[in-house]
């Protein structure tokens, strides 16, 4: 797992200006995505899950996280990308999600961990002008990282598993 | 510093008394009624006993009488902790052998002062 290296990078970096926040970027298909690092509780190697009957296709199943039952979302399917067999680089990000009914722990499967990036408010661009092919509710903004476009995800909507009942889209 | 037994059926009262006294460096044991107080006192030795008056199982007056009947506690200071500023309870307590009384409500400073006086 590559996260130890990433953590080392994180340690060296000075905590920048006031509105600079750190995001954890990862790869999904050909594109980079990122989540607010303060929401990341844990990075785990891929493991098999227990399928939940009647669940949406993007809900991969359940894992046991030190005694807690945690649902795992296949982020590829959630964002409308094609499915992919897990490989040696596939990891599970465990995240803290704010839900209307309180704070929850959910996990999501991503292809590969990339880096810790610094994001300041002025760097974030609106996603309106791009056709990203993903539900815009999921996108917090876009960011240019070494001329690589990174999609900053709004994790609370991405991991809102019963949103279909609230958004009939 | 002395070893003190505090007897009260009210947990909040008891813990406040023992907290205050432990802060002062005393060693404090607790009992929740007269009977338990008597048992603890008989099994151990205390330099001072502070007891509530109204308690289930065995009240404070009875506890004082029993303690005074015990050779070990003939001269040990025993204070009553009571809201009843009325004469009857004090006299009853004194007649049973109480050294003195502390009237509830009291603040920690007052308790500390009285205890250090008695233990001097």
């Amino acid at each position: 797992m590559g996260d130890a290296k990433e953590m080392a990078v994180l340690d060296e970096e000075p905590t920048g200006g006031s509105d600079v926040r750190e995001w954890l970027s990862f790869r999904l298909g050909k594109l980079d995505y990122a989540v607010d690092i303060l929401r990341v509780l844990e990075i785990r190697v891929w493991e098999s899950t227990t399928r939940i009957p009647y669940s949406s296709p993007f809900v991969q199943g359940l894992i046991n996280l030190r005694g807690a039952i945690v649902p795992v979302i296949d982020l590829r399917l959630r964002l409308g990308l094609s499915a992919k067999q897990p490989d040696g680089e596939t990891v599970i990000l465990v995240l803290n999600v704010e839900h209307p009914q309180g704070s929850r722990t959910l996990a999501m499967i991503v292809d590969q961990i990339q880096d810790v990036i610094e994001v300041s408010g002025s760097d974030v661009r609106s996603a309106d002008r791009f056709n990203l092919n993903i539900n815009e509710r999921f996108v917090y903004g876009l960011m240019d990282v070494n001329s690589n476009m990174t999609v900053l995800l709004d994790i609370d909507t991405v991991l809102d598993v019963d949103d279909s009942e609230r958004h009939a889209s | 510093m002395g070893k003190i037994l505090t007897v009260d059926d009210s947990v909040s009262m008891r813990s406040m008394v023992s907290f205050t006294l432990r802060e002062q460096g005393h060693e404090v044991d607790e009992a929740e009624n007269g009977q338990e107080g008597l048992d603890k006192a008989s099994a151990d030795h205390y330099d001072l006993v502070i007891s509530d008056v109204n308690m289930p199982v065995m009240d404070g007056i009875e506890l004082i009488k029993r303690l005074r009947a015990n050779e070990k506690y003939r001269f040990t200071p025993i204070l009553m902790l009571t809201t009843e500023s009325g004469l009857d309870k004090k006299q009853e307590g004194k007649a049973a052998g109480a050294t003195g009384w502390i009237v509830k409500p009291f603040d920690p400073a007052k308790l500390t002062a009285v205890v250090s006086k008695v233990l001097k």
């Binding site: - | 947990v11 509830k104 409500p105």
Partner: protein, 670 residues
């Protein structure tokens, strides 16, 4: 660190809730005109500690209110007045006031000042009607005289040492007021042969020189504890204000008046004690935050998992030295199980926590309905998991209200029918093979099958031609839509029907029955698992997936030849079991299992039952039968139909627990 005072305050709040509940219990136990003295003492003691605590923690309004209450109770205790209905009623209304005052201090809730005042007026009214026999508090005008110089004569009694008093301590304290000159009079010391070492024979004459005037009261305060055990004469030497003659306190009473008084109280107590048993003393206990216990249970769940994971290392042939390890593992397993039992025990509370509210509730409702009902409680010490108690309360409230409203008749009607005027409502709890059974019964009118049947036909729940035995008709009251509308009185209220009660009970993994005899009464019987957090489960495999079926709902598991299962369009629909056709659910199809079955042979059918309906669940194989720790799916996910939760297995993976009731319901819908 939290402020310790804050902590004690919180303890006090818990205590006051208990004290108020205790007062309520005692009040309910009073059957006038006989009043057990011990009951009054206990009520007094509770009010008294409320007063002491609230005063100490600066809760003035609560302290003032409890003071008035205490005064009234004190006069009852002393026999100055006797308990009557007015007082009982007034004390009941005090309870509500106490609760609102406590929650004011605890949560900052608004106080209804008028209400508090009105209850207080009632109290004071009762007090003044007893012509305030309280002795005029030593209001003897405090002598205000003070002086810079005092002459003090201090003659302690011979036995003063025996109360733990040390005369020197008082003299030292006196020294804090100014400079003192002490003269000891040893004249009274007897000859050595007569000397009693524990007696005091000394007298002191002390002169106090202070820099600021010292009041007589200050001196009296120093010797306060000894005022009855010493002769004290305070003489001002340079009076600042014209002095009064030296005050010598009354001599100590020759004998303690206490003992005979107590004896007398006991005598009257035993004379008036009715056959009623006194409430049990609470056992020793500590308060623990439920969250702490839950985290302990979670940890224990982990331990159970680790333990069963270790026990899979059993390849003895390959590693003979494993034998000793295995013995250790066997022990670990036993200890883990014991520990699990023990920890679960911590969550268990006597059902009394739930039952205790009913006497008061029934009393209040009876008052407004003009009915006379006695509540009998049996088995209140039966223990059950705290969460079960919480979930049980609402259904029980409904059943009790139902009995009062519709079960027990008015006193005159009862008399006409040759029954005693007072109806009896019985709440009973007992354990039965891993379950708790709770019964709510009344000796009222009973269910009228003809009426029920007519109503069910009117409501279209059954057809006029349907043949139902009496029991089946009785059970119609649980049918959805049966007991709403008409039954909504202001008491049964909220339009909640028996169907909701039944659903709630089933939601807890239990079931409810009714037994009734016309004219004799009705009994509702609720059966629930003892705990909601641990479940006795049968693990089953379905196309490589593992599910847990609660043992409670399994009747049997049988292998059924494929050709004995009736199929419609290739779907298994039913098979004959014990002479009757019951529906079959293929779990793999029901749950859309994506994988193929690796299993061959005749289908295995687990016959399950809920709500008196059976169903066969088709599975590939049966795995372990074990206790599982139930975890909610809703904590991080959402409710899933036909599943009641999840658990973690020995290998650390998650398995889902079937909601058998919902699965059977599904068969009916399809």
């Amino acid at each position: 660190m939290t402020d310790p005072m804050e902590r004690f305050r919180n303890v006090f709040f818990e205590e006051s809730a208990e004290a108020i509940d205790a007062i309520e219990q005692h009040l309910l136990s009073i059957a006038l005109p006989n009043v057990d003295n011990e009951v009054i003492h206990d009520i007094f003691r509770s009010a008294h500690s409320l007063k002491g605590g609230s005063a100490t923690f600066g809760m003035t309004r609560l302290a003032e209110f409890t003071h008035v209450m205490e005064t009234l109770l004190d006069s009852l205790r002393n026999g100055e007045r006797s308990m009557d209905q007015d007082i009982v009623d007034c004390l009941f209304s005090c309870l509500d006031t106490l609760r609102s005052l406590v929650s004011h201090y605890q949560y900052g809730d608004e106080i209804d000042g008028q209400k508090v005042d009105s209850v207080r007026h009632t109290l004071e009214g009762l007090l003044s009607s007893s012509a305030a026999t309280a002795p005029a508090q030593a209001a003897s005008a405090i002598d205000e005289d003070s002086s810079l110089q005092w002459q003090i004569t201090f003659i302690p009694e011979r036995d003063v040492l025996k109360t733990g008093n040390e005369p020197l301590r008082y003299i030292e304290e006196l020294a804090e007021l100014g400079t003192i000159t002490v003269e000891v009079n040893t004249n009274a010391i007897p000859s050595l042969s007569e000397l009693e070492p524990t007696a005091l024979h000394l007298q002191w004459h002390i002169t106090l020189d202070a820099s600021a005037p010292v009041a007589r009261q200050d001196l009296a305060d120093v010797f306060m504890w000894l005022e009855d055990e010493a002769e004290l004469i305070f003489t001002p030497l340079t009076p600042a204000i014209p002095s009064v003659a030296p005050v010598s306190p009354l001599p100590a009473p020759a004998e303690a008046p206490a003992a005979p008084a107590t004896a007398q109280n006991e005598a009257t107590a035993s004379a008036t004690t009715p056959a009623k048993e006194t409430p049990k003393r609470t056992q020793q206990s500590i308060r623990v935050d439920l969250a702490k216990i839950d985290s302990l249970i979670n940890l224990l769940g982990e331990l159970v998992i680790t333990q069963s994971m270790l026990s899979t290392f059993s390849d003895l042939d390959q590693y003979p030295e494993l034998q000793r390890l295995q013995q250790g593992l066997g022990q670990l397993e036993r200890h883990t199980r014991d520990l699990q039992d023990g920890v679960m025990q911590i969550r268990m509370l006597p059902i009394d926590f739930c039952f205790s509210r009913f006497p008061r509730m029934v009393r209040d409702i009876c008052k407004s309905l003009g009915k006379e009902i006695r509540v009998d409680i049996v088995g209140e010490t039966t223990e059950v998991d705290k969460t079960v108690i919480e979930e049980l309360t609402d259904p029980l409230v409904h059943l009790v209200r139902n009995s009062i409203d519709h079960g027990i008749e008015r006193p005159d009607v009862r008399e006409e029918n040759g029954k005693p005027r007072t109806g009896v409502l019985t709440l009973k709890a007992f354990h039965q093979v891993g379950n708790i059974v709770i019964e709510v019964s009344d000796d009222g009118a009973g269910l009228n099958a003809d009426k029920l049947r007519k109503k069910a036909i009117e409501k279209g729940l059954i057809s006029a031609s349907s043949v139902l035995n009496e029991q089946a008709v009785h059970e119609l009251i649980f049918a959805p839509g049966f007991s709403t509308a008409e039954q909504v009185t202001d008491l049964s209220g909220r339009g909640v029907g028996m169907d909701v009660v039944k659903r709630n009970i089933q939601g807890l993994g239990g079931h409810i029955d009714v037994r009734s005899t016309l004219g004799k009464g009705t009994t509702f019987s609720i059966r629930l698992p003892l705990t909601l957090s641990i479940l006795d489960g049968q693990l089953v495999k379905v196309h490589g997936e593992t599910y847990v079926i609660p043992m409670l709902s399994i009747i049997e598991s049988i292998q059924v030849p494929q050709d004995k299962i009736n199929q419609v369009e290739g779907k298994d629909v039913s098979f004959k079991w014990r002479g009757e056709f019951i529906p079959v659910l293929d779990l793999a199809k029901t749950f859309h299992c994506p994988r193929e079955s690796s299993f061959e042979g005749d289908p295995l059918i687990v016959v399950v039952e809920s709500d008196n309906r059976q169903c066969g669940l088709m599975v590939d194989e049966l795995a372990n039968h074990q206790q599982v720790v139930v975890k909610s799916l809703e904590a991080n996910y959402k409710r899933v139909d036909e599943l009641s939760g999840a658990t973690i297995l020995g290998d650390g993976t998650v398995a889902l627990i079937l909601d058998v009731g919902a699965l059977i319901q599904r068969v009916k819908v399809h």
